[in-house]
């Protein structure tokens, strides 16, 4: 007799993850489940562990205890409980399951926009150069940069670079897309074009976890907002609930109050 899988299994299952940098505990038993197609935004004061949590999901950071699973597979460690790091090859394979977009873009400056997207397609996904080029052009079109395929990153504006960054991540067809304060390094007038791309990906059903300070975007585009404070999940729920006035969470309330005071 086989056990049938649960009706709605979590695509990303973070459970009890803790991590310390020296004596500073940056993550304290964090648990978070994300189901397929969900857009989860993570908000919270700086130093609350949001970015660290995101970086643990694709194992750019290791964690001390707990487990992070994508589609049921432990991300950074070989077996549940053994806490033995995966081999370099395995880790690379696991990381290719997630896409990541960085605050500082991190485009490869020696490659063109198309080249940035093609590198992973060719070396990780094993596509031919013609196939990879076609996929790169498709995604550059999606982010409105079809005409910039052969431009080097230095020739692009910040907003354009970040859109290439998004295209580079999604072209790999990741199961989940991680967005780490992707608009924080942008001039205000360039934020909109980048968020527009994220919104369209959300409409396509891309599963996303997004650390952001863009409250309006979090309210409009996310299915769930997670508020982190002091390395833990302090509150989580639908935007209306988390950003509403009813919520009974002192820390969240003062965070939002301070946030509104400085942003409006």
């Amino acid at each position: 007799m086989s056990i049938s899988p649960p009706a709605n299994p979590a695509l990303l299952d973070i459970s009890d993850v803790s991590k310390s940098f020296g004596s500073v505990e940056v993550l304290r038993a964090v648990s978070l489940q994300v189901t397929r197609g969900e857009v989860v935004t993570v908000i919270g004061p700086s130093g609350s562990g949001k970015t660290t949590l995101l970086r643990c999901v694709n194992f750019l950071e290791s964690y001390d205890s707990g487990s992070i699973r994508i589609d049921g597979k432990e991300v950074g460690f070989r077996e549940m409980g053994t806490h033995q790091r995966r081999s370099e090859r395995d880790l690379a394979k696991m990381r290719a399951e997630t896409g990541m977009v960085f605050q500082s873009f991190n485009l490869f400056p020696h490659l063109t926009a198309a080249g940035n997207i093609m590198l992973g397609l060719r070396k990780v996904r094993g596509k031919s150069s013609t196939e990879a080029r076609a996929i790169a052009e498709h995604w550059l079109g999606r982010v409105g940069l079809a005409h910039k395929a052969d431009s080097l990153p230095a020739e692009l504006s910040g907003g354009q670079q970040q859109r290439v960054g998004i295209a580079r991540a999604v072209a790999m067809e990741p199961k989940i897309l991680l967005l780490d304060e992707i608009t924080s390094a942008l001039d205000p007038e360039l934020v909109g074009e980048v968020l527009e791309v994220v919104r369209s990906l959300a409409e396509d059903g891309m599963t996303m976890v997004m650390v952001t300070h863009e409250m309006a975007f979090a309210r409009d585009a996310s299915s769930r907002i997670v508020f982190m404070a002091d390395g833990g999940v302090s509150a989580a729920g639908p935007p209306a609930e988390i950003l509403g006035t009813e919520i009974d969470n002192e820390r969240l309330r003062s965070f939002l109050a301070r946030f509104r005071a400085s942003h409006f």
Binding site: E88, K93, G99, S104, F108, P109, H110, L119, M172
Partner: protein, 216 residues
């Protein structure tokens, strides 16, 4: 005078060939060893990093002449007997390797951490990250000091004459011994070394321009 020098030219040419051969060996061997050890210094586990660090600091702290004599006259004491040619090549290679390690560390270290992370995030393995992301960017910064080092290697190869190896320098000294025409022969020697090194710097400048894709 000119007749005597013309008569010695084939002999000098042989010496020049030895100079080029020593330089080439040293440059290629130190490049391979230095890049591998430099990668160990930047990315390796702690014991490897320490080992490379100690190697590099020790070698760079010793005058190259001492190193040459040590390898040739010192190593036989522990049972390692090398022909003078290979002793000289080994000593020069050790010296140059230590420099290549430092050039590599500097060049790779100047690439922002975000580049490695972005490369990891798309699923590239360590070797792929080095080959497609880190080295192509580090190359441009590695090249100028390295080419400088190559010209140093060509000049430094003259030291092998001290072990009695007939390189260009030694050949010149021998011809001077026979003809007593020190001035014109040393000038000839200087011109030959200069031409080789100047050609190298020109080539380097052209290469640098070719790899100037990154505007900073």
């Amino acid at each position: 005078m000119l007749g005597q020098i013309a008569y010695a030219l084939p002999f000098l040419a042989q010496g020049f060939a030895v100079t080029l051969w020593v330089s080439l060996l040293v440059v290629v061997l130190s490049l391979v060893a230095g890049v591998m050890m430099g990668v160990g210094l930047v990315y390796g586990p702690a014991p490897l990093r320490w080992a490379v660090r100690i190697f590099s600091d020790t070698i760079r702290g010793i005058p190259i002449l001492v190193l040459i004599f040590f390898v040739y006259y010192g190593l036989p004491a522990v049972g390692i007997h090398l022909e003078s040619f290979w002793a000289a090549v080994l000593a020069l290679t050790l010296f140059k390797t230590a420099q290549v390690i430092e050039y590599l560390r500097g060049a790779v270290g100047s690439i922002p951490k975000g580049q490695s992370e972005a490369a990891m995030a798309i699923g590239l393995t360590f070797r792929q990250r080095l080959a497609y992301v880190i080295f192509p960017q580090a190359f441009r910064r590695f090249l100028p000091p390295w080419i400088n080092g190559v010209t140093d290697a060509v000049k430094g190869s003259a030291l092998v004459s001290l072990l009695g190896i007939t390189d260009l320098m030694h050949a010149i000294n021998q011809v001077i011994g026979r003809t007593y025409e020190a001035m014109p022969l040393y000038i000839l020697g200087a011109v030959i070394y200069f031409v080789v090194n100047y050609a190298l710097s020109l080539a380097s400048r052209r290469l640098e321009r070719r790899f100037s894709f990154i505007r900073e």
